[in-house]
């Protein structure tokens, strides 16, 4: 069997997705061409599939990403930073210089920084591998399908589906908890709900414009939550969803 050539890359991120991937036992049908976190050897070169973790938060990120794209047949956005901008994307819409100053003061740090954005804003993304970090079974599934010359089926249904399939109590109904399960892409097997903790949306909003921020905000509102509170919950991972603000505002008009 022909080996699947992969590259694994980290832009601005915590390297958690890569770490998760590194902890998995890959088979000999997969050849790592470039993976800077594991080995400083190698260069960004031609691969079948490039997995890109992290958001674009500097000029260097953008350059590197473009180079990765040019060299990869398939590009996979890996993890919520890459797919949605990640937690660092929560300051989206604010003045970068102001934020920078609050954190670094007047220290002289030299890089061309900007607010973290999902990589799809810069290059064509073929597949999304969601998660913060992605789940082991999904990383393996994506790799395995690519290795077979096929492709993975991306989930387009919410965490609620997995919550129901596992029979966990719905804490949004029962305890009025601000659970983001209804608009978050499934795959984690509703991990937080297993422990009775509401979903904070770490896997990012659903693709294909079916993350109903408006309907969920309305449900939260009916349960007595304020607009500010709802927004603060929803923007942690959803800030850069196309029209999140607009959808929430609509409910409070």
């Amino acid at each position: 069997m022909k080996k699947l050539k992969i590259g694994v890359h980290g832009l601005t991120s915590c390297y958690g997705c890569q770490l998760k991937m590194a902890s998995l036992k890959l088979a000999e049908n997969i050849e790592i061409v470039y993976w800077n976190m594991l080995s400083s050897k190698g260069e960004i070169g031609k691969v079948d599939v490039a997995f890109v973790e992290g958001s674009v938060s500097t000029g260097e990120d953008e350059e590197e990403l473009k180079k990765i794209r040019e060299n990869a047949d398939i590009l996979v956005a890996m993890g919520t930073c890459a797919t949605h901008g990640g937690v660092q994307g929560v300051i989206f819409g604010e003045d970068y210089k102001k934020c920078f100053k609050e954190i670094y003061g007047d220290n002289n740090i030299e890089f061309d920084g900007r607010i973290g954005e999902p990589i799809k804003k810069y290059v064509k993304v073929d597949y999304n591998l969601p998660g913060c970090p992605p789940e082991e079974d999904e990383i393996l599934y994506y790799l395995a399908t690519f290795a077979l010359g096929s492709y993975p089926e991306e989930k387009d249904y919410p965490v609620c589906a997995e919550c129901r399939r596992n029979g966990y109590p719905c804490i949004l109904i029962e305890k009025n908890k601000p659970c983001l399960g209804p608009l978050t892409v499934a795959g984690c097997k509703a991990r937080c709900l297993k422990y009775g903790i509401e979903c904070t949306g770490c896997r990012g909003p659903l693709p294909h414009n079916i993350a109903w921020f408006d309907s969920l905000a309305r449900t939260f509102k009916e349960r007595g939550m304020s607009k500010e509170f709802i927004k603060s919950k929803m923007e942690i991972f959803g800030k850069q969803y196309e029209n999140m603000e607009e959808l929430i505002n609509k409910v409070f008009e």
């Binding site: 069997m1 036992k25 890959l26 088979a27 000999e28 049908n29 997969i30 393996l140 599934y141 790799l143 395995a144 399908t145 290795a147 077979l148 096929s150 089926e153 387009d156 249904y157 919410p158 609620c160 589906a161 129901r164 399939r165 596992n166 029979g167 109590p169 719905c170 949004l172 109904i173 029962e174 305890k175 659970c179 399960g181 209804p182 608009l183 294909h208 079916i210 109903w212 408006d214 309907s215 969920l216 309305r218 449900t219 009916e222």
Partner: protein, 341 residues
């Protein structure tokens, strides 16, 4: 039909003895509000007040996830993963849930029987239990409030025990093998049974018939109520996953990382999800949330011809477990306004 009685004092022993016939599953409380049917060790933990479980009884026959095939990729071969199912006892199914299983039978045991389902169905022993409806129940409107078939034993609450209807050869066997547990039904038990039935009928929220609801639904599909309700909907699928007669599943092949083997799995799907209506070529039969929302109403209110009832058994789960407080029953009552019987 054969009728026997069991006194309350003997119930605990009865539940213990049920374990002789298979693993016993019964409703237990799993959180402040919710119940689920779990394997029972201590029969004292069984809830007799549970009206609805967060996972309907379908989970025992079509599990939320299951492996169908083992696939040998290198040799382009596969093997059905069919396991012997040990007998098991489901205690405390209400009338609607038993009808729901019969509806699933119609779907899974039709001209192309699903062997995975069939095996489990053969192994399942069903013990029914009477109930008093709450505001969510409307099985009277769907004519599924009383069952005459589909159970081994059906227990009807009496002041001092239960009147039992024996519904199958297996049910007879249980009664015959445990003569010390059962007594004869007396005149006062019959009176108590009638009183219970009367009290039960009085507790429903609405009366009349939903026989024509499917057509009313079709005729009112353009009404603005459906835009408003669909707008509220989260597309979360809780309504279908908790529905005892929702039976949609998705199938996926999951290859191993070495590319030599794969498994074919199936898992509960929902028409409230985008990909449910997606077909090859990227066309979607139900592209909008409203399309998906209405699909469930149409599907559940369609006729299940073998039973002459709708696919909806009036259990109220879809409303009770909807995080957006969308009320299936009230929506149907709303479009039916004008019919007073």
């Amino acid at each position: 039909m054969r009728y026997v009685k069991i006194y309350n004092e003997k119930m605990q022993e009865f539940l213990e003895r049920l374990k002789n016939y298979g693993k016993l599953y019964a409703p237990v409380k799993i959180s402040d509000k919710f119940y689920d049917r779990k394997e029972i060790d201590d029969v004292k933990k069984i809830s007799f007040d549970c009206l609805r479980t967060i996972m309907p009884a379908k989970k025992f026959f079509i599990p939320p996830y299951e492996e169908l095939f083992e696939i040998d990729i290198e040799n382009a071969d596969y093997k059905e993963k069919i396991e012997e199912t040990e007998p098991f006892v489901l205690f405390g199914l209400h009338a609607c849930e038993i009808v729901a299983l019969r509806i699933l039978d119609g779907v899974y045991l039709d001209e192309f029987p699903d062997i995975y389902y069939a095996n489990r169905r053969k192994a399942g022993i069903i013990i029914g239990l009477s109930c008093l409806p709450d505001e969510y129940c409307f099985c009277n409107l769907t004519r599924t409030d009383f069952v005459d078939i589909g159970f081994e034993l059906f227990l009807h609450e009496l002041p001092d025990g239960y009147l039992i209807r024996v519904g199958s050869p297996k049910g007879h066997k249980i009664v015959d093998e445990n003569p010390d547990l059962f007594s004869e039904v007396k005149k006062e038990d019959i009176d108590a049974f009638k009183m219970f039935e009367e009290k039960r009928q009085k507790l429903f929220k609405y009366y009349g018939s939903f026989d024509n609801i499917r057509y009313i639904l079709e005729l009112t599909m353009k009404d603005k109520i459906w835009d408003e309700e669909a707008e509220k909907c989260l597309g979360c699928g809780n309504c279908t996953m908790t529905c005892p007669t929702c039976r949609c599943y998705d199938v996926q092949d999951i290859p191993d990382i070495d590319g030599k083997h794969a498994k074919r799995i199936r898992f509960w799907d929902s028409c409230q999800f985008r990909s449910h209506g997606l077909v090859a070529g990227g066309h979607n039969f139900r592209p909008t949330k409203k399309d998906r929302f209405l699909n469930r109403y149409i599907c559940k209110n369609a006729y299940f011809y073998p039973l002459g009832t709708s696919y909806c058994v009036g259990c109220g789960n879809c409303t009770y477990f909807c995080p957006a407080n969308i009320n299936f029953l009230e929506n149907l009552i709303e479009i039916r306004r004008g019919i007073n019987a």
